[in-house]
């Protein structure tokens, strides 16, 4: 005869299981769930981090959407950055992946050298590129421009060029990582498919267009979505390349991105209630962008 066990007996029976998951679950509750709830509450308050938060209802969100030009500037910059970095980055890294996937010499050398920026801290990369982009004739990049007969650009001091400069660095830094992802995708394509195409007399371009590209779609989706998420969270490079005594984001906020703005409001201006609301807006924006991406890519996958 079976008796129904009490909850305690059931928990006790599996106490080892609960011991095993306890550290991970506890850390999760204290350092992720707790702060998540706290910042949700603070997003409806006025809070400077010192005095107790004061309830203001939806005021923060209202201000963000209807009365905050800096927020919209940050959105605009973030979108420009994302759209400027992802397409060239994806194209270049896909071409690279195909190139190093061929029967060539020094294959490993090429893979390694393209991957190195992915193991370098973004802070180090940013200070290096800041020096490369140095103004007048001192920067290496301006020297190249000059030797091509072009005018030097005051990259990080000009409202027009700050964001493009950072985008150039980001494309450079990201291609090796995406190349490895594409390479893994390429290696899942069975060689028999290509052999069949060879028999049919397909040329290189036809094979790329009708075999490689369609079969790489899952990798492509992954790369694009990860790229979107990373771009919408871009912060470190903005911080290093545009920090001055006036704050971060460059001249006239020309490179102020969403997270840079959140940091500025929270930790420079100590408007922590407002910054918490910004955090939730960033959260929702990234969430929506991911879903739109998935939908968009899915509809194009079916053929």
């Amino acid at each position: 005869m079976k008796r129904k066990k009490t909850l305690f007996a059931r928990l006790n029976e599996h106490k080892w299981s609960y011991f095993f998951i306890a550290p991970a679950v506890l850390l999760f509750v204290v350092f992720i769930v707790g702060p998540l709830i706290a910042s949700f509450y603070w997003s409806f308050t006025e809070y400077n981090g010192i005095h107790p938060p004061k309830w203001v209802g939806l005021a923060n969100y209202k201000t963000i959407f209807f009365d905050d030009p800096r927020f919209w500037k940050a959105i605009k910059n973030t979108v420009i950055y994302t759209l400027g970095v992802i397409p060239p980055g994806v194209v270049l890294s896909l071409l690279l992946a195909i190139a190093v996937d061929q029967q060539i010499k020094f294959k490993n050398f090429f893979r390694i050298i393209y991957f190195i920026p992915s193991v370098t801290s973004v802070i180090a990369l940013s200070v290096i590129w800041k020096w490369l982009f140095a103004g007048e004739k001192y920067g290496l990049i301006n020297y190249f421009l000059l030797s091509l007969g072009l005018k030097p650009i005051d990259w990080l001091m000009s409202p027009v060029w700050t964001l493009p400069a950072i985008m150039i660095m980001s494309i450079w830094a990201g291609i090796g990582y995406n190349m490895i992802l594409f390479l893994a995708g390429l290696q899942t394509i069975p060689s028999t498919v290509y052999e069949a195409a060879d028999i049919d007399g397909a040329n290189v371009l036809e094979k790329f267009w009708h075999i490689t590209l369609p079969l790489l779609k899952p990798t492509m989706v992954f790369v694009v979505i990860m790229g979107f998420i990373a771009s919408f969270q871009v912060f470190e490079r903005i911080y290093i390349m545009t920090e001055s005594e006036f704050g971060i984001g460059g001249v006239l906020d020309s490179a102020l991105t969403l997270v840079a703005y959140l940091y500025d409001m929270g930790f420079r201006k100590f408007q922590m209630g407002y910054a918490s609301a910004l955090g939730y807006v960033v959260f929702i924006v990234i969430f929506l962008v991911t879903i739109i991406n998935l939908k968009f890519v899915k509809s194009r996958i079916e053929y």
């Binding site: 599996h14 350092f31 998540l36 180090a124 290096i128 490369l132 992954f222 990860m226 930790f267």
Partner: protein, 281 residues
């Protein structure tokens, strides 16, 4: 015969094209690093001389001496190694432990708890920036190793990774150990751990890399000089001595080299790990 010849010629053109593409790319990858290194050993007159040159006439170690004299670089190095090392060890232990329970144990609430954990991967960390900072202050952990280590001791992704891997281990092995009278922890230690070494290596590499390069969290919870990690130190160096390019580049060399050496020694694991998990440092 003719057809074969033209095919060969086509192949040769294709190969040349590929090599030149890869070669130009490789050079553009290398230039910033070369420029960093060259600048870091240049005396000031050569940095300001025009045209800029990759050849250093009078190499000097002065930027490095300045760096270690003006800034507690050794301390930053130690902090980075200590924090990244501790976080990595903790993750290996806690993630595999939890991953084992989620994969092989049957207990009340298992699937629900796991789904909640997994769902949290969708949350961007920025949401918790402000509240995380306030929590650290309430706990009195600002400017301490606690703030850098404890909150990230068991990452959800690590738990997920371990669980997926452990699920592929046959139950028979665990049952056999049970019949032999092994306790739960002994099974974890003697059966599971040795079998999941490959996934633990991946987890270790990426946790270490992530912590080594972590910036925004140390930026908000650390503001005393002695507690800074390398990226934070480099950022401060950039802010305070931004015009002394030789010294800033020397700092970048010091911050870049250790990870570069580790990467070059274990590069296969890095690339396999990325292909396996899609994880970024």
């Amino acid at each position: 015969m003719d057809l074969a010849k033209s095919k060969k010629a086509q192949d040769a053109i294709f190969k040349t094209f590929i090599y030149s593409f890869l070669f130009v790319g490789a050079i553009s990858m290398a230039i910033p690093y070369a420029w960093m290194f060259v600048t870091s050993i240049k005396p000031i007159e050569e940095i300001q001389s025009y045209p800029p040159s990759f050849i250093v006439k009078n190499p000097t170690a002065l930027p490095y001496q300045d760096l270690f004299r003006l800034i507690p670089m050794w301390r930053y190095l130690f902090n980075s190694v200590y924090v990244a090392g501790a976080v990595t060890l903790a993750n290996i232990f806690f993630c595999s432990l939890a991953g084992y329970a989620f994969a092989k144990h049957r207990f009340w609430g298992r699937d629900n708890i796991f789904i909640v954990l997994l769902g949290s991967l969708m949350i961007p960390w920025q949401v918790n920036l402000i509240s995380g900072f306030v929590l650290m202050r309430k706990l009195g952990w600002l400017n301490s190793y606690n703030a850098l280590i404890i909150p990230v001791m068991a990452g959800v992704f690590g738990v997920f990774l371990c669980r997926q891997f452990i699920m592929s281990i046959p139950d028979d092995l665990i049952d056999a150990a049970k019949i032999d009278g092994c306790g739960e922890f002994t099974i974890y230690r003697l059966v599971i751990l040795p079998l999941i070494k490959p996934v633990l290596a991946t987890l270790a590499i990426f946790t270490f890399l992530q912590q080594w390069n972590n910036f925004i969290w140390p930026l908000i919870v650390i503001n005393t000089s002695s507690m800074r990690t390398l990226p934070l130190g480099l950022a401060v160096l950039n802010g305070q001595f931004g015009t002394n390019f030789a010294m800033v580049m020397a700092g970048a060399v010091v911050a870049t080299t250790p990870m570069l050496v580790v990467f070059l020694s274990f590069q296969k694991y890095f690339m396999k790990g990325i292909a396996l998990t899609g994880l970024r440092g």
